[in-house]
Symmetry: C2
Subunit: 371 residues, 2 copies
């Protein structure tokens, strides 16, 4: 037998994981983490009503989920005051980004993103043969003007921006995003990742305009709603944009339990308001911890705080390693100059207690080692 050959494109792709999961690190260390603050998961958990809905749905999981996600899609549409035809549900933003890239990006098509922005987007672009053009951050913000300028220069078919941004926690006013949209090159799709939007100031999200056929907005139940492991995201867009997903999506791909949980979460705005307060308090506490060690926390509109460790990437990496050695799972930006920082997720009091106790010793150890 001759082993079947991968497609020429697949043959060029590396078999890598964009992120190593905390469980893999725990297996390597042979020791569990005491604080899980590296993946911007919400240790406040899902809404109790969402948990109850998922538990109730467990015995119904012999049935495939409704491939049209009718109930959830209608509820989300109602929530945003758009039509159900303007909403596409999918298995988290990761999956939806993959489908978006597959729909619009072919071999060699130019795509613009920021250097150090969400690597899973780049993974998908590479996976479909697109050509990434990266624009530097500016003052720890993604740079809308530079993204648009570069898109014009290279003839980009797609631009990615996250607002608020991950991994820096920074954000732009909705007006800035609207200016970006107005400046898009002809035929270029803006993928606006709003994974953290529920935790940002109200004016961060531009008004939803479903007549705009060159913008798709990505939302998720993974962050504020605390359901990362459920894999529920959605796209808001023009009818024709949304409809295109039906060409390539895995129609029966949604978990039935996850659909039930997301619906219950959406119907509990009081709980979400409570989470916003908890996240804000956690942001303040992480900021205070950083300042107590004479380090600068970056302003954040997300459920994490990025801490400037005050030196270079090697030092921040050492601080991170020292935290991990003290059983605190955190991550860091991986492109300079953002990689002078570490990124700490907002968590429960217990989780932040562990972080607080470990941070001073981790800093000292890092200074001793590299100083």
């Amino acid at each position: 037998m001759r082993t079947p050959k991968l497609t020429p494109l697949a043959a060029t792709l590396p078999a890598t994981v964009p992120f190593v999961g905390p469980e893999a690190q725990e297996r390597q260390r042979s020791r569990p983490f005491q604080a899980r603050l590296g993946a911007n998961e919400s240790s406040f958990g899902p809404a109790p009503k969402a948990i109850a809905a998922m538990q109730a749905a467990a015995s119904e999981t012999w049935m495939y989920a409704d491939p049209e996600s009718h109930e959830l899609r209608h509820a989300i549409a109602n929530h945003h005051q758009v039509a159900p035809e303007n909403i596409m549900i999918g298995e988290g933003i990761d999956a939806l980004l993959g489908l978006a890239v597959r729909l619009y990006i072919g071999a060699g098509d130019p795509v613009v993103t920021s250097a150090g922005a969400y690597p899973t987007f780049n993974y998908h672009v590479a996976g479909f043969g697109g050509a990434i053009h990266s624009v530097p951050y500016k003052d720890d913000h993604e740079d809308p003007d530079a993204l648009i300028d570069t898109a014009h220069t290279v003839g980009a078919k797609m631009i990615y921006i996250a607002n608020p941004d991950n991994p820096m926690g920074s954000w732009h006013h909705g007006d800035v995003i609207n200016r970006m949209i107005a400046g898009l090159p002809d035929g270029c799709m803006l993928v606006l990742d709003e994974a953290y939007i529920e935790l940002a100031p109200a004016d961060t999200a531009p008004a939803i305009d479903i007549t705009t056929t060159n913008v798709m907005r990505m939302r998720t139940f993974s962050k504020a709603h605390g359901m990362a492991g459920a894999r529920v995201g959605y796209v808001i867009g023009a009818t024709e944009t949304i409809s295109a997903f039906n060409k390539v999506r895995n129609h029966f791909g949604m978990s039935r339990i996850s659909q039930a949980g997301a619906l219950a979460a959406l119907e509990d705005p009081d709980w979400l308001a409570d989470i916003r307060q908890k996240v804000e308090a956690a942001r303040e506490r992480i900021g205070a911890i950083a300042r107590r060690h004479n380090l600068a926390p970056l302003p954040s509109a997300t459920n994490f705080v990025t801490i400037d460790c005050g030196a270079d990437g090697a030092f921040a990496r050492e601080v991170l390693d020292q935290l991990i050695a003290r059983d605190v799972f955190v991550r860091m930006p991986f492109v300079a100059p953002q990689n002078r920082c570490i990124r700490v997720s907002c968590g429960t009091t217990e989780q932040l207690d562990v972080f607080e106790a470990a941070f001073g010793p981790a800093l000292s150890a890092a200074r001793e080692k590299l100083g």
Copy 2:
């Protein structure tokens, strides 16, 4: 603004659902089904231990699932006496079929399947630009010799066969599949869909041989394990075949709850043995109902029975419509001559009671209408 253009391939794809879900039909009818026997879901439900595990995991769903599915992958590997490197977990066989096609099939690449076999496979092949070559069924079985012959003729890069088969319920001895493997053209991948294998006679599955680099075997928790809505499937294959999935898969795509449920299901062989008996009894009962109406049930190695309605596709379609009108959700093969049949899933006593009560009147109404 000029609306962004889809890739040339995506532009050619229809925005269709391979199957209309029963919920969509219920919405159209404005009435729920009384028996849900159309999608080969297992109304016997998941194992109680799996339900308990999923309920326990609901509050942990703030965490992403382990992207390596370490625990589940190791348990499945142990179950099959292979290495974890020979197992790839994914969001159901549907998602894994999509990835398999993406890895191996590019524009114009010939792919061979049976006329009327699993349409979601064809959906994926079309979605990546492959060229489907269909081979007729032979005596209501997929035809291994014809599949292999056609693959040689057209220079196929991939062959799909389901053993046992859906929608006919027929199966081949594992020796027949081994002969197929031996006859594969050089560089052609056999995708062996064994979604129903736990319900088939023991000699239906060839021995697992992970040195074979031109076969990938697909398994699922959707059928015998009754977890269709959880979306857990896996591939068994050679290390290099399995590793290739890491190039394109959605690494953080698995539901955490689903992983927990699948693990618990796998660790409950007694429950699976009980399901096998229940499915066998349901097969016998569906067969007896068919015979009582002088119709021939086809032999089945799956959790459904395909009933030959004794006339043409139009008549079977009318019987199906009459069943649906009587609140019984069933489906049927959609290619002649298999479309002379309807397909009824094995279900609980209550579900089959509804089917039994409806079947006679549905047949009479169909005969009256078309006779």
